[in-house]
């Protein structure tokens, strides 16, 4: 079931006239005048040529970067007045990130990597957190890999651990930056299917930056970015 557009509830994510300029002797415009609305349970692929501002847009939507113009509404709440701590807490509770190079902490096991956000949030006791982390890894086909370190896992397995970590605190939104960019076709298909299922089965909103047309075709909607702007006519 896709719970998008639930009666009376605000969109999951709204960007209004978003802009981001890097200051300097020659200011660099990363994103300009982007407005978009993403509903609950929607799977959105952001596409565009290299350097077009896709990742910059994702970092803005993920509250990792602060826009120099416009604002972002998360579940109807304006985040433009949030301080650094409030932004961090919002990321902890409502957003999960998956990056191209998994970025797992090398000294920690797969299980401990998944436990990190839960331990920081502290909403679950240690036993419940361990069980949830184990269940997430099992759901993603990582039975028996929980106690392995990242270097003992394949690329696809690492990316699935990263997805489990993104889901640890059960956030409504998953943001993925080239999640299949570093995987072989089999692993990429697996990750694509997992993200697809997150929207269909768990009602998560997934926003993914990708170059992969096959990946993008699995999304509910594709947004093309060219020169930092949404290009309504963009075709891969």
């Amino acid at each position: 079931m896709n719970p998008a557009g639930r009666e009376g509830s605000p969109p999951m994510l709204t960007a209004e006239r978003l802009g981001r300029v890097l200051p300097g002797e020659v200011p660099v415009t990363l994103v300009q005048d982007i407005s978009l609305t993403i509903d609950r349970g929607e799977f959105v692929a952001i596409m565009g040529p290299s350097g077009s501002g896709k990742s910059s847009l994702l970092y803005l939507l993920g509250l990792l970067d602060t826009p120099t113009a416009g604002r972002i509404l998360l579940d109807g709440r304006d985040t433009s007045g949030y301080g650094e701590d409030e932004l961090a807490t919002t990321r902890l509770r409502q957003l999960g990130f998956v990056f191209q190079f998994h970025f797992l902490l090398a000294e920690f096991s797969a299980l401990d990597n998944v436990l990190l956000p839960m331990r920081r949030l502290g909403a679950l006791d240690e036993g419940s957190a361990q069980r949830r982390a184990g269940a997430l890894l099992a759901q993603l086909g990582l039975d028996g890999q929980a106690h392995k370190r990242p270097h003992q896992l394949s690329g696809g397995q690492r990316q699935r651990v990263a997805i489990a970590r993104a889901l640890a605190n059960d956030p409504p939104i998953i943001l993925a930056d080239e999640p299949t960019g570093n995987l072989d076709s089999h692993a990429a298909a697996n990750v694509r299917q997992i993200l697809r299922d997150l929207t269909r089965e768990l009602g998560k909103t997934v926003i993914a930056v990708t170059h992969d047309l096959t990946f993008a075709s699995a999304a509910d909607r594709q947004i093309g970015i060219v020169d930092g702007r949404i290009d309504p006519h963009w075709r891969a």
């Binding site: 990792l64 807490t89 990321r91 990130f97 902490l105 000294e107």
Partner: protein
Amino acid sequence: MPVQLAIALTHLLSRKRQTLVSLTGIVLGVAFFLAVSSLMRGSEGDFIKRLIDNSPHITVSDEYRQAQRQPASERWPTGAVELRRVKPLTEVRGIRGHPRALAYIESLPGLRAAPVLVGSVVLTFAGRIEGVTLNGIVPDKMKQVSTIEDKMIEGSLEQLAANPNGIVIGAGLARKFGLAMGSVVNAASPGGEVRTLKVVGIFRTGNANYDDMQTFALLKRAQGLLDRPNRINRIVIQLSDPYAAREVASIIERGIGYKAVSWLEASEDLMSVLLVRNLIMYSVVSAILVVAAFGIYNTVSTIVMEKIHDIAILKSMGFHARDIRLIFLTEGVILGLIGSLFGLTLGLGLMALLARVELKPPGATELVFLPIYWGYEQYLLAAGFAMASAIGAAWLPARKAGRVQPVVILRGMG
């Protein structure tokens, strides 16, 4: 276990060699801090103890702190008085009305006092001549204010009472003159009086100068020899609380008018030397810990540099800047704690070794063990300083880590 602590521990354990080097710095710093501090404070304590034990807590002498006013100045305090050819009376020096002064002093609580007449005499024996200090004492009273009775190696002060022509001498003088118990020496005063005295006691304090120069005789005999009948020129006082000497001396001086010098006043120059010595000592041993702190700074700084990507990921997950700072501060605290713990243990070992070292200090006649101070506050000081250095060293990289902007790092990694 808090997640910040778990991450901090993991960082340190994954860099065992670097962690060990930093720890070694702190361990050695704390150990040397403790060893040097205990030795310096031990020697200071030993010095003060000797000072308190071997010298009077207060000495009242036949002098005034300020010159006495002339009677004419007393009579006409605002007048311009000129007195010509004033010839002061020649009088026998000493504390006037000393029984009354002694009674007043003895009426004060927490002290014991003994009258003494101190003068110079020349001893002659078998053709040898030596100038010494003769202390005329009342043995019963002297025993209460001096440890000299404890230092007797032969005879006792009591024997002076039984033998009015007795003299008690130091072991150094006895050796120099070849004197033994029962030997007879001649004592001549500057006024020309000569007495024959019999050695009835020999003491050894360990202070070569004292053992060579000081002698004791009965007060009456000394008064006769020095031609100062019924006079004393010192009142020696011991207190139950030696550190109250300054206040009690002031009370006595106000009460009897004569100059009363506490051991603290008499040793002011030495005490200031001890203070300077302590300042130098603590500066040097603190410098060791400051250098060790650079090791911690280096370790934590390197971890911050190496883990810059992890910091960005943790922040993207929702870790606050203060969580990141806490992780790296915790690393400093862990290094400081473990370093202090092992440092204190090693320091205790060094102290135990030093306490077994025997040496003969200049001026001493016997071998003595190095004096070591075992007070708990120096452990707290060493560990506290190590912890402060460790936290200070970790703070800078921790602050830098907390300021990492994840998006800047993620852009570079993409």
